[in-house]
Assembly symmetry: C2
Homo-oligomer: 136 residues x 2
Protein backbone atom coordinates (compact mmCIF):
# COMPACT_ATOMS: atom_id res chain seq x y z
CA UNK A 1 0.00 0.00 0.00
CA UNK A 2 1.34 3.46 -0.80
CA UNK A 3 0.46 6.84 0.62
CA UNK A 4 -1.72 7.68 -2.41
CA UNK A 5 -4.26 5.13 -1.13
CA UNK A 6 -4.90 7.35 1.90
CA UNK A 7 -7.86 9.33 0.61
CA UNK A 8 -10.26 12.05 1.59
CA UNK A 9 -13.85 10.81 1.90
CA UNK A 10 -16.50 13.49 1.65
CA UNK A 11 -19.69 13.21 3.66
CA UNK A 12 -22.86 15.28 3.66
CA UNK A 13 -23.39 17.60 6.59
CA UNK A 14 -26.92 18.89 6.60
CA UNK A 15 -27.67 21.95 8.70
CA UNK A 16 -31.29 22.40 9.68
CA UNK A 17 -32.81 24.79 12.19
CA UNK A 18 -33.22 21.95 14.68
CA UNK A 19 -29.80 20.33 14.32
CA UNK A 20 -26.97 19.21 12.07
CA UNK A 21 -26.69 15.76 10.49
CA UNK A 22 -23.52 14.06 9.24
CA UNK A 23 -24.19 10.94 7.19
CA UNK A 24 -22.11 7.84 6.30
CA UNK A 25 -23.69 5.18 4.12
CA UNK A 26 -22.41 1.98 2.55
CA UNK A 27 -22.48 2.29 -1.22
CA UNK A 28 -22.82 6.06 -1.06
CA UNK A 29 -19.70 7.50 0.59
CA UNK A 30 -18.50 4.43 2.52
CA UNK A 31 -17.16 1.56 0.36
CA UNK A 32 -17.98 -1.24 2.82
CA UNK A 33 -20.57 -2.37 5.40
CA UNK A 34 -19.38 -1.11 8.77
CA UNK A 35 -18.69 -4.10 10.98
CA UNK A 36 -17.20 -2.03 13.77
CA UNK A 37 -17.72 1.58 14.73
CA UNK A 38 -15.94 3.23 17.62
CA UNK A 39 -15.44 6.68 19.04
CA UNK A 40 -12.44 8.15 20.82
CA UNK A 41 -12.73 11.11 23.17
CA UNK A 42 -9.35 12.68 23.95
CA UNK A 43 -7.76 15.93 25.05
CA UNK A 44 -5.25 18.30 23.49
CA UNK A 45 -1.75 16.87 23.41
CA UNK A 46 -2.74 13.22 23.17
CA UNK A 47 -1.11 11.18 20.42
CA UNK A 48 -2.98 7.96 19.72
CA UNK A 49 -2.93 5.25 17.07
CA UNK A 50 0.74 4.66 16.24
CA UNK A 51 0.05 1.33 14.60
CA UNK A 52 -0.82 -0.19 11.25
CA UNK A 53 -3.48 -2.74 10.37
CA UNK A 54 -2.83 -5.85 8.32
CA UNK A 55 -6.32 -6.12 6.83
CA UNK A 56 -8.66 -3.53 8.38
CA UNK A 57 -9.65 -0.37 6.52
CA UNK A 58 -10.76 2.58 8.60
CA UNK A 59 -12.49 5.85 7.84
CA UNK A 60 -11.69 8.56 10.39
CA UNK A 61 -14.16 11.35 11.09
CA UNK A 62 -13.72 14.26 13.48
CA UNK A 63 -17.04 14.95 15.22
CA UNK A 64 -15.70 17.66 17.51
CA UNK A 65 -12.46 19.58 18.00
CA UNK A 66 -9.45 19.08 15.76
CA UNK A 67 -7.43 15.95 15.06
CA UNK A 68 -4.35 15.74 12.83
CA UNK A 69 -3.91 12.32 11.23
CA UNK A 70 -0.33 11.46 10.27
CA UNK A 71 0.14 8.60 7.78
CA UNK A 72 3.27 6.78 6.66
CA UNK A 73 3.50 3.99 4.09
CA UNK A 74 6.96 2.85 5.25
CA UNK A 75 8.27 3.37 1.72
CA UNK A 76 9.08 7.07 2.05
CA UNK A 77 5.56 8.39 1.52
CA UNK A 78 3.91 10.40 4.31
CA UNK A 79 0.94 12.72 4.62
CA UNK A 80 -0.91 14.65 7.31
CA UNK A 81 -4.53 15.72 7.26
CA UNK A 82 -6.28 18.03 9.71
CA UNK A 83 -9.77 16.75 10.46
CA UNK A 84 -12.40 19.08 11.86
CA UNK A 85 -16.18 19.02 12.09
CA UNK A 86 -16.80 19.74 8.44
CA UNK A 87 -17.39 17.40 5.48
CA UNK A 88 -14.05 15.62 5.10
CA UNK A 89 -13.08 12.28 6.59
CA UNK A 90 -9.98 10.21 5.88
CA UNK A 91 -9.81 6.65 4.55
CA UNK A 92 -6.75 4.87 6.00
CA UNK A 93 -6.30 1.50 4.27
CA UNK A 94 -4.43 -1.45 5.79
CA UNK A 95 -0.65 -1.33 5.52
CA UNK A 96 -0.41 2.33 6.53
CA UNK A 97 1.15 3.44 9.81
CA UNK A 98 -1.19 6.08 11.29
CA UNK A 99 -1.14 8.35 14.32
CA UNK A 100 -3.79 10.76 15.56
CA UNK A 101 -2.75 13.97 17.23
CA UNK A 102 -5.54 15.55 19.27
CA UNK A 103 -5.31 19.34 19.16
CA UNK A 104 -8.28 20.50 21.25
CA UNK A 105 -9.71 19.24 24.55
CA UNK A 106 -12.70 16.93 24.19
CA UNK A 107 -12.05 16.20 20.54
CA UNK A 108 -14.11 13.26 19.31
CA UNK A 109 -12.97 10.86 16.59
CA UNK A 110 -15.45 8.50 14.93
CA UNK A 111 -13.89 5.46 13.25
CA UNK A 112 -15.79 3.33 10.70
CA UNK A 113 -14.16 -0.08 10.12
CA UNK A 114 -14.75 -2.85 7.61
CA UNK A 115 -13.58 -5.53 10.06
CA UNK A 116 -14.34 -6.62 13.60
CA UNK A 117 -11.75 -6.31 16.33
CA UNK A 118 -8.83 -8.71 15.98
CA UNK A 119 -5.72 -8.09 18.10
CA UNK A 120 -3.65 -10.02 15.53
CA UNK A 121 -4.54 -7.42 12.89
CA UNK A 122 -2.45 -4.73 14.62
CA UNK A 123 1.23 -4.02 13.95
CA UNK A 124 2.30 -1.91 16.91
CA UNK A 125 6.07 -1.96 16.40
CA UNK A 126 7.38 0.45 13.77
CA UNK A 127 10.43 -1.68 12.88
CA UNK A 128 8.13 -4.67 12.37
CA UNK A 129 5.91 -2.50 10.14
CA UNK A 130 8.89 -1.41 8.03
CA UNK A 131 10.07 -5.00 7.66
CA UNK A 132 6.55 -6.07 6.62
CA UNK A 133 6.11 -3.40 3.93
CA UNK A 134 9.57 -4.03 2.54
CA UNK A 135 8.94 -7.77 2.51
CA UNK A 136 11.99 -8.48 4.59
CA UNK B 1 -43.95 -4.56 16.96
CA UNK B 2 -44.63 -3.87 20.63
CA UNK B 3 -42.83 -1.62 23.08
CA UNK B 4 -41.00 -4.61 24.63
CA UNK B 5 -38.92 -4.84 21.47
CA UNK B 6 -37.36 -1.45 22.29
CA UNK B 7 -34.28 -2.61 24.15
CA UNK B 8 -31.23 -1.33 25.93
CA UNK B 9 -27.98 -2.23 24.15
CA UNK B 10 -24.89 -2.15 26.30
CA UNK B 11 -21.56 -1.07 24.84
CA UNK B 12 -18.05 -1.06 26.26
CA UNK B 13 -16.61 2.28 27.24
CA UNK B 14 -12.93 1.95 27.89
CA UNK B 15 -11.24 4.74 29.82
CA UNK B 16 -7.48 5.02 29.34
CA UNK B 17 -5.13 7.81 30.38
CA UNK B 18 -4.98 9.04 26.79
CA UNK B 19 -8.68 8.88 25.93
CA UNK B 20 -12.00 7.07 26.16
CA UNK B 21 -13.24 4.54 23.62
CA UNK B 22 -16.86 3.51 22.99
CA UNK B 23 -17.19 0.44 20.79
CA UNK B 24 -19.98 -0.96 18.59
CA UNK B 25 -19.38 -4.18 16.70
CA UNK B 26 -21.53 -6.41 14.52
CA UNK B 27 -21.96 -9.79 16.18
CA UNK B 28 -20.80 -8.46 19.53
CA UNK B 29 -23.26 -5.80 20.70
CA UNK B 30 -24.79 -4.79 17.36
CA UNK B 31 -27.03 -7.43 15.72
CA UNK B 32 -26.46 -6.29 12.13
CA UNK B 33 -23.82 -4.86 9.76
CA UNK B 34 -24.19 -1.09 9.85
CA UNK B 35 -25.17 0.10 6.40
CA UNK B 36 -25.75 3.68 7.50
CA UNK B 37 -24.33 5.65 10.39
CA UNK B 38 -25.26 9.23 11.11
CA UNK B 39 -24.79 11.78 13.82
CA UNK B 40 -27.09 14.55 14.96
CA UNK B 41 -25.82 17.64 16.77
CA UNK B 42 -28.63 19.60 18.42
CA UNK B 43 -29.30 22.03 21.24
CA UNK B 44 -31.44 21.94 24.36
CA UNK B 45 -35.13 22.15 23.61
CA UNK B 46 -35.02 20.51 20.20
CA UNK B 47 -37.43 17.65 19.57
CA UNK B 48 -36.42 15.53 16.60
CA UNK B 49 -37.45 12.21 15.10
CA UNK B 50 -41.24 12.04 15.39
CA UNK B 51 -41.54 9.29 12.86
CA UNK B 52 -41.54 5.51 12.55
CA UNK B 53 -39.65 3.28 10.13
CA UNK B 54 -41.26 0.50 8.13
CA UNK B 55 -38.15 -1.71 7.91
CA UNK B 56 -35.12 0.07 9.36
CA UNK B 57 -33.75 -0.81 12.81
CA UNK B 58 -31.74 1.85 14.60
CA UNK B 59 -29.49 1.87 17.62
CA UNK B 60 -29.29 5.27 19.27
CA UNK B 61 -26.21 6.31 21.22
CA UNK B 62 -25.64 9.58 23.08
CA UNK B 63 -22.02 10.69 22.57
CA UNK B 64 -22.39 13.98 24.41
CA UNK B 65 -25.03 15.76 26.48
CA UNK B 66 -28.39 14.20 27.30
CA UNK B 67 -31.11 12.95 24.99
CA UNK B 68 -34.45 11.50 26.06
CA UNK B 69 -35.86 8.98 23.58
CA UNK B 70 -39.63 8.59 23.68
CA UNK B 71 -41.09 5.47 22.02
CA UNK B 72 -44.66 4.50 21.24
CA UNK B 73 -45.87 1.26 19.66
CA UNK B 74 -49.26 2.70 18.70
CA UNK B 75 -50.96 -0.09 20.66
CA UNK B 76 -50.89 1.62 24.05
CA UNK B 77 -47.28 0.81 24.93
CA UNK B 78 -44.86 3.67 25.52
CA UNK B 79 -41.44 4.09 27.10
CA UNK B 80 -38.84 6.81 27.61
CA UNK B 81 -35.11 6.34 28.07
CA UNK B 82 -32.58 8.98 29.04
CA UNK B 83 -29.36 8.48 27.07
CA UNK B 84 -26.10 9.99 28.28
CA UNK B 85 -22.44 9.36 27.58
CA UNK B 86 -22.25 6.10 29.49
CA UNK B 87 -22.62 2.47 28.34
CA UNK B 88 -26.28 2.26 27.35
CA UNK B 89 -27.72 2.72 23.89
CA UNK B 90 -31.27 2.05 22.70
CA UNK B 91 -32.40 -0.31 19.94
CA UNK B 92 -35.50 1.08 18.23
CA UNK B 93 -36.92 -1.52 15.84
CA UNK B 94 -39.13 -0.70 12.85
CA UNK B 95 -42.79 -0.10 13.62
CA UNK B 96 -42.06 2.10 16.65
CA UNK B 97 -42.84 5.82 16.70
CA UNK B 98 -39.81 7.55 18.23
CA UNK B 99 -38.91 11.10 19.20
CA UNK B 100 -35.65 12.45 20.58
CA UNK B 101 -35.73 15.29 23.07
CA UNK B 102 -32.39 17.10 23.34
CA UNK B 103 -31.81 18.31 26.89
CA UNK B 104 -28.38 19.97 26.76
CA UNK B 105 -26.78 22.28 24.18
CA UNK B 106 -24.44 20.53 21.73
CA UNK B 107 -25.78 17.07 22.51
CA UNK B 108 -24.61 14.51 19.96
CA UNK B 109 -26.64 11.47 18.92
CA UNK B 110 -24.99 8.61 17.00
CA UNK B 111 -27.41 6.40 15.04
CA UNK B 112 -26.40 2.95 13.76
CA UNK B 113 -28.81 1.63 11.08
CA UNK B 114 -29.22 -1.73 9.36
CA UNK B 115 -30.55 -0.11 6.18
CA UNK B 116 -29.53 2.61 3.77
CA UNK B 117 -31.56 5.78 3.43
CA UNK B 118 -34.93 5.30 1.79
CA UNK B 119 -37.47 8.12 2.04
CA UNK B 120 -40.28 5.57 1.53
CA UNK B 121 -39.25 3.81 4.74
CA UNK B 122 -40.43 6.74 6.88
CA UNK B 123 -43.93 7.17 8.34
CA UNK B 124 -44.06 10.82 9.35
CA UNK B 125 -47.78 11.14 10.06
CA UNK B 126 -48.93 9.80 13.43
CA UNK B 127 -52.46 8.94 12.25
CA UNK B 128 -50.96 6.99 9.35
CA UNK B 129 -48.70 5.19 11.83
CA UNK B 130 -51.65 4.26 14.06
CA UNK B 131 -53.60 2.98 11.07
CA UNK B 132 -50.61 0.91 9.95
CA UNK B 133 -49.99 -0.77 13.31
CA UNK B 134 -53.69 -1.51 13.76
CA UNK B 135 -53.90 -2.90 10.24
CA UNK B 136 -56.70 -0.56 9.29
Amino acid sequence: MTIEQVQIVTYPRIAAVDGQLSIFETGANIPYPMKRVFTVLANAGELRGQHAHKACSQILVCLSGEIIVHCDDGLGGTCSHALRRDTQALLVPPGIWASEEYRIDNSVLLVLCDQGYDPDDYIRNYATFLAAVKGT
